[in-house]
């Protein structure tokens, strides 16, 4: 069965390492924070100027001056630090964040990503997404593998305006964990109960399947 949003987050969380500084985008990526393995320390970077984001505040802790990049009220974790937006993106652009997780509309076999704009619809802007994809070495894109109508989002060439060019190497969809290299998708894992054939069918870009593809462990 296709992974739920929570299960996608759960599988991404397995890629975390102790001592990682991580930036989690809005949506599914945010849920990753709920699945940090026990005994592991991870520090969350919020690009509006906070390293060490904590959980939501209680009513008593609520503070209009303390929000995350999704504009939600948050708290600070022990050892947090605050900085301005130029410094926050110096951190991101300079490659100091260990892992970035963000959503997308489309990715393609060349590591291109489209995630911020659907022409003709309302254009809200890229926020920090272009900086995040350009600055990070280690990025995981989370998305559904195909639209509700069965149209693949893993393409030979992105059709929407790009957020970044040639910067994505790992994609976790509701069906599969995929690596991008040498201009091709490579199937690493499949969601429990999902067959390789189903994944092939819903992947428009060239997909390399080598040997037995293991099921994800959740």
């Amino acid at each position: 069965m296709a992974l739920s949003r929570e299960q996608i987050a759960q599988r991404v969380a397995q890629e975390l390492q102790d001592g990682y500084y991580v930036n989690l985008g809005i949506g599914i990526p945010t849920l990753v924070a709920n699945y940090i393995p026990e005994g592991m320390e991870v520090m969350l970077q919020s690009e509006n100027g906070l390293l060490g984001m904590g959980q939501f505040p209680t009513e008593d802790e609520l503070d209009a001056d303390l929000i995350n990049a999704g504009k939600q009220t948050v708290t600070m974790a022990t050892g947090a630090s605050i900085f301005d937006s130029a410094e926050s993106f110096a951190m991101i652009r300079g490659g100091h964040v260990d892992l970035t997780v963000l959503g997308a509309f489309e990715v393609d076999v060349n590591g291109n990503i489209a995630s911020y704009m659907i022409p003709g619809k309302l254009i809200k802007g890229m926020g920090g997404a272009m900086d995040l994809v350009a600055g990070a070495d280690n990025i995981i894109v989370t998305m559904t593998h195909a639209s509700k109508h069965g149209v693949s989002k893993l393409l030979s060439n992105c059709t929407l305006p790009l957020t970044g060019k040639g910067c994505i190497k790992k994609v976790l969809t509701d069906l599969a964990f995929i690596e991008i290299k040498d201009g091709k998708f490579h199937l690493l894992e499949r969601a429990p109960g999902i067959s390789v054939d189903e994944i092939v069918k819903l992947t428009e870009g060239e997909l390399v399947v080598t040997g037995d593809i293991p099921e994800m462990k959740l």
Binding site: L66, D84, S85, G125, K165
Partner: protein
């Protein structure tokens, strides 16, 4: 107090000299750390044809969004402009010019403007619509685009505390774009929650030096929360 005393006593005085078609650089992220009373004063003045440089454009009835109904904004340079119906209407109708700029590039453009750096290279936006019309160049095998800096006629800033000399301290994530905005205005106007005497702030802990600040005013703030998320105690 003469010389370095930046304190003014009215919002009218704070925004004196702002005229039609000027460029205004504003601090704030969403509704957090926005100079809400300085924005209200711009609405009151009715200044038109403004180019605004700000990460966001507020919501319909708060923040920079309140400048929309009277069509005071000609152009906005921002990274994210959702959550605002009138904004959407004006943009779709072609009444409002929107220049979308990646958030980090926007912050760096303000910083560079204040720091006398006319342009810098960044990988952000390479190969995307943001790169259109911009110079591309490789350094050590990686592709970058050239981005130019921004300086405004006015900068409007919200800080937490200040001394009368305009030395500023920000609070939590209300800091965001405010320190860069403060450096990037020909005239920089700052509103704060508390003004203390010079010498009361620890020199090591001042976030923005008074040299950047032209006018300082004590304000009352609503500090509206955009996404109120709480957990049970």
């Amino acid at each position: 107090m003469a010389g370095f005393d930046k304190v003014v006593s009215s919002y009218e005085e704070a925004m004196a000299g702002l005229t039609d078609n000027m460029t205004v650089v504003a601090g704030g992220f969403g509704l957090c750390g926005i100079p809400e009373n300085l924005i209200a004063e711009i609405k009151r003045k009715g200044t038109k044809g403004l180019t605004l440089v700000s990460n966001n454009c507020g919501v319909d009835d708060f923040g920079l969004g309140i400048l929309l109904p009277d069509r005071q904004i000609k152009k906005i340079i921002a990274s994210y402009v959702g959550e605002n119906a009138e904004f959407e209407r004006q943009m779709m109708a072609g009444e409002l010019d929107v220049e979308l700029t990646p958030q980090g590039t926007l912050a760096e453009k303000m910083r560079a403007g204040g720091a006398g750096i006319p342009a810098f290279f960044t990988a952000t936006g390479y190969g995307t619509p943001v790169a259109e019309g911009k110079e591309e160049r490789q350094f050590k095998g990686r592709d970058y685009i050239l981005e130019e800096s921004i300086v405004g006629d006015f900068a409007i800033v919200k800080a937490w505390k200040a001394d009368r000399y305009g030395n500023l301290v920000f609070r939590k994530t209300a800091r965001n774009f405010n320190p860069m905005a403060a450096t990037a205005g020909k005239v920089t106007v700052v509103e704060v929650e508390e003004i203390v005497e010079p010498g009361e702030l620890d020199p090591d802990q001042i976030h923005t030096a008074g040299i950047y600040v032209d006018r300082l005013i004590l304000g009352n703030f609503e500090k509206r929360i955009e996404q109120r998320t709480v957990r049970k105690a």
